[in-house]
Symmetry: C2
Subunit: 478 residues, 2 copies
């Protein structure tokens, strides 16, 4: 009763069923497995290695900009969660409650953190006394829990991994600078490392974080034309400081409230990578975060010298890239499909004929281009090709985003676009919540952001016809 | 109303009150703060940076030995926890229960993971089919929750950080090899990186992990003579595999159960560092895990050229060590005390006279030895001194452990030693649970381990007088 796992099964094509294509990819590329816990995912080694690469890059950026990592408790007492009114209203409906510890019922319920503003504020109120204690630039890597009704791996899960930055500053200006600095770092992470182009902008009041004065966002577009929020950065002003009494003695001897920010990115970025770069053969990973950048596959392994030569190449190339070699007894064609499914950026084939000619055959995952390279040049050529893959993935994604971004000046045009050419729709807005609500009701599109790069595409609000105040990017979103 | 923080307050001496000394150090060295959540600690930047250094070292050791990181859910459904009988009996009394999600009561309670054997087993039962899928060498970095009645920072907290390795193997031999390999890696971490000498051995049945066939441990001794378990490695045999039906098809075509291990170390190692190396001036950190290895303190900062020279030295030394500089307006003496409290291994003082003589003054945290070094030699001398500090901390701790390890051949002698010369007591044991229970009742000492290096110190059990089977290390423990 042999129970053999088949590596290469066809996946649903994205044209046929995009949602099914997505779940096929996360499963078949072994990023995730479903767990016995409702709405919670198991992040498998390959998926976790991608997250570790994202962490490594971002963590070093955070440290370079003076941030320090800390660890706060997993639980928040109900009373603490309630201290900031808007915040508790936003989060209470979706938290998990611990009511029993050991065999005893707790006198006060604890929620499993959905986000840790309240814990950081409680701590800041104790450790901040003087202007000399400011700024406090703290970050935390952890998991958080939000009780979601419908879930999908990486995109929306009851538990997910993230980092949450929480900072306290002496002045409103410094807090605003920090908020934008972090948004820019996130944009850099997305564009330079994940090869995902983003639109930077501010959220409308309707879409901003519960308790924030202003929320900024980076928004990206997936293959199916739906938008995905890739990261947010919030300016809290002194709202939380007043609720939690976080005051410091300034140089002038006066007690003042601090100004705060918070910002976060999550494992949903892995979902974005899949849906921005993936194709009908599976995952396509940008080299900068690919756990394996180059897979070596020996051809005609039984022939003398082939495996030895492949091992020698692996050893040499390990100094310039993250390299793996597959010497299992599967057929080369099966291996090709397997590493295509896993999105390994570059494949190196080496067989008896190649050895004779002192060459290797490289195959790019993104373009499937075959490149024959002399063995003498692999250490210089391969890093160059990896860089070119990284660059061209971003370029291709930029072109796709541009192609899926339209402009509407009437509501009819808007409705037609959202149904027939899904993507970002640029349209003017009067600034009223009612118009946002109406557009959502009509089209299920939401305001993604008011972009920093404002344009004037018409004079009046797309919805009510009153004078326009802002250009807004609209779209259906994950 | 200036609220100024004082950096340097005297701490309780360890001779006066060891427990108070400990909590003074964790607070004043800014490792930890108490939170509003019962039994949960806040790990502050300085404490977390130590944990990150431990993680960095251990994680690279785990990857070198073929282990892969994954992430499992935070929650365990009650039914899953109950699958292995001994395991649930051991953990159920100390778990936190989630009973409500959002506004709804759950149909099945979820416990917040106290450890994740059950989740790994559930996953393994799905992904292991063939001998080709083995071994599975997974590890997870996360936090776990155990509902403790009395807590102390790092040593015993309701929530703590750890790594938990969970592996599955084709044979019992491989599982046993892995169990011991991991114990040895932990011992290496403790001795080479944390400069903490450990005794390696096996736990008695009474002290082993709930559900394990055999538990191995590394045990260390604190300043006060109490033992601290620094890490454990468990061989599960096929017990969990049978409970969770984890079977694979072997080369011979037969279905067989896998053999499993698990192993973990936690943030309590930071507690061990404090209590093995600390003194009445505060923390003493081994250079290998010190967030700052060298602190530069300019003397007579207002004199021309001093701060500039200090900055130049910092720049030069940053290439060979983790260096910081303090140019705040506090008096040098205050700075000295502050960095002594924080356990920074080496201090560099540089003032106008030193600049004149082309020299710096180094002061070791461990021995307080002053060393004058030519500015031309700092790049070679400082790493040498840091290595010497690392080496001599381990040597000193070894000597202290040896000094606190006694041998008893009668129960009277045992009782006298445990009360008057606290430490490890080596004594023979018959192998019966009753004798362990009786010794604990009489002395509150427990069997720490049956050391791998067995000696024969007498013929009969220290407790019942029957023929002895094993030498046991006994001690009161954290």
């Amino acid at each position: 009763m042999e129970k053999e796992k088949k590596f290469v099964e066809a996946i649903t094509s994205m044209e046929e069923d995009f949602a099914k294509w997505y779940t096929d990819v996360v499963k078949k590329a072994e990023l995730v497995d479903y767990s016995s816990v409702r709405g919670c995912m198991i992040i498998r080694p390959y998926g976790y290695a991608i997250w570790e690469n994202i962490q490594k890059y971002l963590d070093s950026m955070l440290k370079e900009t003076g941030h320090e990592n800390v660890y706060m408790p997993l639980f928040i007492p109900e009373n603490l969660l309630k201290k900031e009114a808007e915040h508790v209203e936003g989060f209470a409906p979706e938290v998990a409650w611990v009511t029993h510890g050991g065999n005893e019922e707790l006198t006060e319920r604890l929620c499993v953190r959905p986000t840790s503003e309240t814990l950081f504020c409680d701590h800041y109120s104790k450790i901040i006394q003087s202007y000399k204690d400011l700024p406090k630039l703290y970050n935390q890597w952890c998991s958080v829990v939000r009780w979601e009704k419908t879930t999908r791996p990486f995109l929306r899960t009851t538990e997910f991994l993230w980092q949450e930055g929480h900072t306290a500053h002496a002045t409103a200006e410094e807090a605003q600078e920090e908020t934008i600095r972090m948004l820019n770092i996130y944009a850099k992470l997305c564009e330079e490392i994940l090869a995902i182009p983003v639109v930077k902008g501010q959220k409308t009041d309707k879409e901003k974080f519960a308790g924030a004065k202003a929320t900024y966002t980076i928004e990206s577009l997936m293959h199916d034309g739906k938008a995905l929020q890739c990261g947010t950065s919030h300016n809290f002003g002194d709202g939380f400081a007043r609720a939690f009494d976080i005051q410091y003695t300034d140089k002038d001897g006066k007690l003042k409230y601090v100004h705060q920010t918070s910002w976060g990115i999550t494992t949903r970025l892995i979902g974005a990578i899949i849906m921005v770069h993936g194709d009908n053969s599976g995952l396509v990973l940008p080299p900068a975060i690919a756990p394996t950048q180059l897979i070596i596959i020996p051809i005609a392994m039984h022939k003398p010298g082939v495996v030895e030569k492949a091992a020698e190449l692996k050893e040499r190339l390990s100094k310039v890239a993250r390299v793996n070699m597959d010497v299992s007894d599967k057929m080369p064609g099966w291996k090709f499909s397997e590493y295509e499914m896993k999105g390994v950026p570059l494949r190196l084939e080496v067989g008896p004929k190649d050895i004779e000619k002192n060459q290797v055959v490289l195959v790019r995952r993104d373009s499937r281009e075959k490149i024959v390279v002399s063995m003498d040049e692999i250490e210089t050529k391969i890093p160059e090709i990896l860089q070119d893959i990284q660059r061209s993935l971003l370029e291709k994604a930029r072109a796709a985003q541009l192609e899926k971004t339209s402009t509407a000046t009437t509501l009819d045009e808007f409705v037609d676009l959202i149904n027939n050419k899904p993507g970002f729709i640029k349209a003017m807005w009067c600034g009223e919540r009612e118009c946002e609500d109406k557009i959502k009701e009509l089209t299920s599109a939401t305001s993604r952001c008011m972009p920093f790069e404002q344009e004037h595409v018409s004079d009046t609000c797309i919805c009510c016809g009153k004078p326009a105040k802002k250009l807004v990017y609209w779209g259906r979103a994950y």
